[in-house]
């Protein structure tokens, strides 16, 4: 594993209880990458995310994760649950919890962590919401808060699971802008599962398309020329 590689998948097959969903996948995520994972429902996108996060071991092949990722320094933005939407917690409390992955058994937050949390809130433009209740925010604001928490936890990689679900188009655009900014200016690698192909192609540099029986992985341009990409585009037009 080279120093700029974050995750390397070699001939990986994934699935549950002996039933493979995704087979013979080769994929490398390097620092600074921007990868979008697209595909139909049930094609194994979420399964792949679980494997990239180290929560699911492959049925065959190997997934090598950088030492930093192995100790949990990953900025993960999961799909929101119903219970979360009316959770009584302030924005600040939520964002600070991103630091709990830091090594060592600390029972309380340090001053550096507290100022880091404020900084990340500022970066995402939600600093003035610090003392607001999470459940009273709009969907877009909630995603920004969760992204700020992800930044607290992250080293060099953000992993996002359908981040624009439930957002209105303007809020979704905002989120993509933030992600591009974090990718370009802060060198944060982004891996995102999404349904929104158009926007994904606009900002991503690499696309992984997971189909029923095969997968395609390459730059955005080569994806658009590939049979998978063409079909997707035609489906879009229809």
């Amino acid at each position: 594993m080279e120093s700029n590689e974050l995750i390397v998948c070699r001939d990986v097959s994934l699935g549950y209880e002996g039933q493979a969903i995704l087979e013979h996948l080769n994929l490398t995520v390097r620092s600074g990458d921007y990868l979008c994972i697209v595909g139909e429902n049930g094609s194994g996108k979420s399964t792949l995310l679980r494997a990239l996060l180290g929560l699911l071991s492959p049925m065959s092949g190997e997934i090598v994760r950088s030492p930093e990722l192995r100790r949990g320094a990953v900025g993960y933005l999961p799909q929101q649950t119903k219970a979360q939407r009316d959770f009584p917690a302030t924005v600040y409390e939520v964002v600070l919890s991103g630091y709990l992955n830091q090594p060592g058994m600390h029972f309380f937050y340090t001053a550096a962590q507290k100022s880091g949390a404020l900084m990340n809130l500022g970066k995402l433009g939600v600093l003035e919401l610090k003392d607001h209740c999470y459940r009273e925010l709009s969907g877009g604001q909630q995603q920004r808060v969760l992204l700020a928490r992800a930044l607290c936890a992250a080293g060099q990689l953000l992993i996002l699971d359908e981040p624009i679900t439930g957002l209105d188009p303007a809020a979704a655009q905002d989120l993509y802008k933030i992600l591009s900014y974090l990718n370009r200016q802060e060198g944060m690698a982004v891996v995102m599962v999404t349904h929104d192909l158009k926007a994904a192609l606009h900002s991503a540099r690499t696309v992984l398309h997971i189909g029923r029986s095969s997968w395609f992985c390459g730059t955005t341009e080569s994806y658009l020329r590939s049979p998978e990409g063409r079909r997707f585009r035609e489906g879009d037009r229809a």
């Binding site: 996060l53 409390e93 919890s97 709990l100 309380f108």
Partner: protein
Amino acid sequence: MSLMQMFSYPFMQRALAAGALVSLCCALLGVSLVLKRYSMIGDGLSHVSFGALAVAVALGLTPLYFSIPVVIIAAFFLLRMANHPRWNNDAAIAVMSASALAIGILVISLTTGMTTDVDNYMFGSVLAMTSSDVVLSVGLSAAVLTLFILFYHRLFAVTFDESFSRATGLRVDLYNTLLSVLTALTIVLGMRMMGAMLISSLVIFPALTAMRLFKSFRSVVLSAGVSAVACFVVGLSASFALSTPVGASVVVVDLAVFLLSCAICRLRGAK
């Protein structure tokens, strides 16, 4: 009769000390349980604890020493059930609590007979606490409180977002287990005073009340603790003054405070 006189009785002092501590623990743990949609686990555990108590009495064992390990084991199972993707979770928990209750009742009726004991177990009795129980309650409550404070931030993270916590390397299963073991301990301790049927309300009511009124997790936890202790003291005094069962009195006070908080919440919303 004045408050001072009331608490000059040793049994009332014991009830006050143990009950207030148990209420506090229940409320703190309850916030996490309610938010994680685990309210039924508290209910299930109290029924298992009833069954265990009945078996312990039949075998002539010290009730607490027997029921604590049994209920902790049950807590593991209930947690597994609640998280199992394939099982019908609430049905499984309901089946488990009804079975434990039935076994307890059978054991009692076959051995000591259906005496007032059953009534005490089901609905609680202020006389149930012996002084050695109080010592145990104080010790265990102190342990619960210490662990809760030390792991407060982690319990928050696990309650708020299990998938994120898991992905960032927090040992989610460990903290879930911690939560259910602490709940199991608290419920066993409180059950004989509050009654098997009523103890779970100590877990649920303070959290619901606090969630209506407060917006940060910390203030919800603190106010749940304060309201639980206050409701317990008021309920205990009322039960003494009116000669009503202590468990039911405390629950009714909790209910009243909850309805009040709903009204306040409504009024705030109307503004």
